[in-house]
C-alpha cells in the first residue's frame, strides 16, 4: 500500500486524463526517483532469478548425470537471453502493465492517448532500453579496457553521448524516457489504496458544540491537513495541532477533554460546515479565503 503522493508532487505531475465518460481521472506521473528505484529493483530481481535459474539448470544437469555440460550451457545462455530481453516485456504486457519493481513502487505503464497499451508499444519502449541502459554499461566496460589515450577519449565521448539518453527523463515535463517517447507511453502512479475510515462518521457532536464563528476559522486546505493528522494518529502532533486550534477558536479545554476526541469532533463539525457551504457553491480554499 503506497500512500498518496505529497500535494506538491500532485500539482506538478498531475495530468488531465479524461475518460470517455467525461471524468478526469487526475493521473499522477511517476517521479524520476520512483522510476529509477523501480528499475534498480527489477535489475536486482532479474539477477537473483538468473542465479536461481542457473542453479536449477545446473542441479538438473547433475541429477540427470550429464557428463557433457554443453546442453545445459545452451539452456543457460538462452535463459539469460530471454530474461534480459523479456523481463520487462512479459510483465508489462500483463494485466497490471507493470514489472515487479514498478508494482512495488505503485507504478504502471499507460498509453499517453488514453487508449489500449499495445504489445508493440511495450516492445518498442523496452527495446530502446538497449541504448539507454545497456549501451552506457558497454561503454563502462570499454572504459576498463581502453589502452591508448585516443581510445580513452572515444569512450568518454561515448559515455557523454549515451548519458544524454539515460538522463533524458529529467529534461522533459512528463518524465518520458526515450522508449516512452517512441512508444507513445508514460508511467503513471497506480497505487492500490485502502479506503480509510470516514473520520466524520458517527460523530454525533460527542458533547462538543462549536459556534458558527468557531467553524469559520478554517478552509478546505486546513481541513485536509487536519484529516492527514487524524489519519496518521501521532500523539505529539495531535496535541500540538489541538492546542493551535483551541487557541485560534478560543476554546476552553475541560480537564477530562482528550485531544483526539476534540480534533475528531472539530473535524466533523468543520467538514459539515464547509460541505454545507460547498453545496451552495462556496468553496472556501483556505483560512485566508474570505468567500
Amino acid at each position: 500500500m503506497t500512500s498518496p503522493a505529497a500535494p506538491d508532487d500532485n500539482l506538478r505531475f498531475a495530468r488531465r486524463f479524461v475518460t470517455p465518460e467525461g471524468a478526469d481521472l487526475g493521473l499522477v506521473l511517476g517521479s524520476a526517483g520512483d522510476r529509477a528505484a523501480a528499475f534498480l529493483l527489477d535489475l536486482i530481481l532479474m539477477i537473483l532469478s538468473l542465479i536461481l535459474f542457473g542453479l536449477v539448470v545446473l542441479a538438473i544437469g547433475i541429477a540427470a548425470g550429464a557428463k557433457d555440460f554443453e546442453p545445459w550451457g545452451i539452456i543457460g545462455l538462452l535463459g539469460f537471453f530471454v530474461l534480459r530481453n523479456g523481463w520487462f516485456i512479459i510483465f508489462e504486457t500483463g494485466r497490471r502493465a507493470a514489472t515487479p519493481g514498478k508494482r512495488v513502487l505503485g507504478l504502471r505503464v499507460a498509453a499517453r492517448d488514453g487508449g489500449r497499451l499495445t504489445t508493440e508499444a511495450v516492445l518498442v519502449r523496452n527495446f530502446l532500453r538497449e541504448i539507454e541502459v545497456f549501451l552506457p554499461i558497454m561503454f563502462l566496460i570499454a572504459a576498463q579496457q581502453a589502452g591508448d589515450p585516443v581510445e580513452g577519449w572515444v569512450v568518454i565521448l561515448g559515455m557523454i553521448w549515451t548519458g544524454c539518453f539515460l538522463l533524458f527523463p529529467l529534461f522533459n515535463r512528463d518524465r518520458l524516457r526515450l522508449g516512452d517517447v517512441v512508444a507513445g507511453t508514460w508511467v503513471v502512479k497506480a497505487p492500490r489504496l485502502r479506503l480509510g475510515a470516514d473520520l466524520a462518521a458517527g460523530q454525533t457532536s460527542n458533547g462538543f458544540a462549536f459556534s458558527r464563528d468557531q467553524l469559520s476559522a478554517y478552509g478546505v486546505k486546513e481541513l485536509q491537513v487536519l484529516e492527514a493528522v487524524l489519519r496518521a494518529r501521532d500523539k505529539r502532533t495531535m496535541a500540538a495541532v489541538a492546542d493551535r486550534i483551541r487557541r485560534k477558536i478560543a476554546w476552553y479545554k475541560t480537564p477530562d477533554e482528550r485531544d483526539g476526541a476534540f480534533l475528531q469532533a472539530y473535524y466533523a463539525a468543520l467538514r459539515g460546515r464547509l460541505e454545507h457551504r460547498l453545496l451552495f457553491g462556496h468553496r472556501r480554499k483556505d483560512k485566508f479565503d474570505k468567500a
Binding site: G73, R108, A110, V124, F127, A200, A268
Partner: protein, 331 residues
C-alpha cells in the same frame, strides 16, 4: 448538522459497490480474466461507471481527501481494465499476422532498402579488402567470432567447419551464442536508430564487413559455394530480420530528425507505432532463424538442400511481406 453529513451518507450508500469492484479487480490483476465468472464480467462495466460517477460526486460534494484519493485510484484501475483489453489475444494475434505485420514491413520499404544496401555494400567492401590483401582479415573479424577460421587455417579445417557435426547435438553452444549475439544486434540496430540514424548505419556496415571477409577467406580456398549454403540456410531469415530492424530504426531516427508538420514527439510516436509492429515481427523471424540455425544447419548437409531451404525461406518472407493483397475492410 453534525454527525449525519451528506458526504457521509453518500459514502455508506455507495461503499458496497466500491468494495465489490475492488475485489473483482484484485482477482483480475492477480491472474487471467477467465477467473471471473460470466456474471462478474458483466457487472464490471456497470461497477466501473458507478465508481466514475461516485468520483464526480465526491469531488463536488465531499471534502474527505482520503475518500477522493481512494476513488481516483480505484477509478483509474478500473479504467485500465475496462478500456485496456478490447480484443482477445487470439484476435490480436490473427490481425497481427494477417495485417499489421506485413503492412508495417511494407510501409518501411524505403528504409529497409537503405539498410539492405548498406549491408550489401559493406559485405562487398569486406570481400574486396580481404580478397586483395588477406592481412585485412584480422582487422575486420572480431577474434572471438573466428574460432580458428582465419587465413592460417588449412582448407581441410575450413571445409570441416561447414559440415562437421558437433558431437551429434542438434543445437551447439556456439550456434546459440551466435544466435543471441545476432538477435542482440538486431535490437541494438533498432534502438540506435533514435540517435539520428547514423549509428544504425554503422552497425549495419559493421555486420556486413565480417560477412564479406569470411566470404573472401572461404572463396580463396574455393569454398565460396559451400559457405553460401552454410550461411544461407538461416542467414536469409536472420539477415532479413536485421535489415528490417535497421529499417525500423531508420524510420524512428528520420522522424525525430525531420518531423515535418508534426511535433517531434508526435512524429516519434507515429514512427514508433509502425516500427513497433515491424519489430514484433523481427522477434518472430529471429526465433525462426534460431530454429533453422540450431536444427537445420546441423542436420542438412548437402549444399543444394541448404540453398533450397534458405532460398525458400527468403521467397516466403518476400511473398508474405510484399505481395500485393486485397485490402480487407477493417472491422
Amino acid at each position: 448538522m453534525n454527525g449525519d453529513l451528506r458526504s457521509n451518507r453518500f459514502r455508506t450508500e455507495r461503499e458496497g459497490d466500491w468494495q465489490v469492484l475492488e475485489r473483482l479487480l484484485a482477482k483480475v490483476e492477480g491472474g487471467a480474466v477467465s477467473r471471473l465468472t460470466a456474471d462478474e464480467l458483466m457487472r464490471m462495466p456497470l461497477l466501473y461507471r458507478s465508481v466514475i460517477s461516485s468520483l464526480s460526486v465526491a469531488r463536488a460534494t465531499s471534502l474527505d481527501a482520503g475518500l477522493v484519493a481512494y476513488l481516483e485510484a480505484l477509478a483509474a484501475r478500473a479504467y485500465f481494465f475496462v478500456y485496456g483489453a478490447r480484443t482477445s489475444l487470439g484476435t490480436r494475434l490473427v490481425s497481427f499476422f494477417r495485417r499489421d505485420w506485413p503492412a508495417a514491413v511494407r510501409s518501411l520499404w524505403r528504409e529497409t532498402l537503405v539498410a539492405a544496401a548498406i549491408l550489401t555494400l559493406a559485405t562487398v567492401a569486406g570481400f574486396a579488402l580481404v580478397w586483395t590483401n588477406p592481412d585485412w582479415y584480422g582487422a575486420i573479424m572480431p577474434e572471438a567470432m573466428t574460432q580458428g577460421r582465419d587465413p592460417t587455417a588449412t582448407t581441410a579445417f575450413l571445409r570441416d567447419t561447414l559440415y562437421h557435426d558437433p558431437k551429434g547435438q542438434p543445437l551447439s553452444f556456439f550456434a546459440t551464442m551466435l544466435f543471441t549475439h545476432n538477435s542482440g544486434v538486431s535490437i541494438l540496430a533498432f534502438a540506435l536508430g533514435f540517435a539520428f540514424c547514423l549509428p544504425t548505419a554503422l552497425l549495419m556496415a559493421g555486420n556486413g564487413l565480417p560477412l564479406g571477409a569470411l566470404m573472401a577467406l572461404y572463396g580463396s580456398r574455393g569454398l565460396l559455394i559451400p559457405l553460401g549454403g552454410w550461411l544461407s540456410i538461416h542467414g536469409t531469415t536472420e539477415l532479413f530480420a536485421t535489415v528490417i530492424a535497421g529499417g525500423a530504426g531508420f524510420r524512428i531516427g528520420w522522424a525525430v530528425l525531420f518531423p515535418g508538420r508534426l511535433t517531434r514527439l508526435e512524429a516519434a510516436r507515429r514512427a514508433g507505432h509502425t516500427a513497433g509492429a515491424a519489430m514484433a515481427g523481427v522477434v518472430v523471424m529471429l526465433v525462426c532463424a534460431g530454429i533453422l540455425e540450431g536444427v537445420g544447419r546441423q542436420t542438412i548437409r548437402l549444399d543444394w538442400a541448404r540453398y533450397a531451404v534458405g532460398g525458400t525461406m527468403l521467397t516466403l518472407w518476400l511473398a508474405y511481406f510484399y505481395l500485393p493483397r486485397r485490402e480487407r475492410a477493417p472491422r
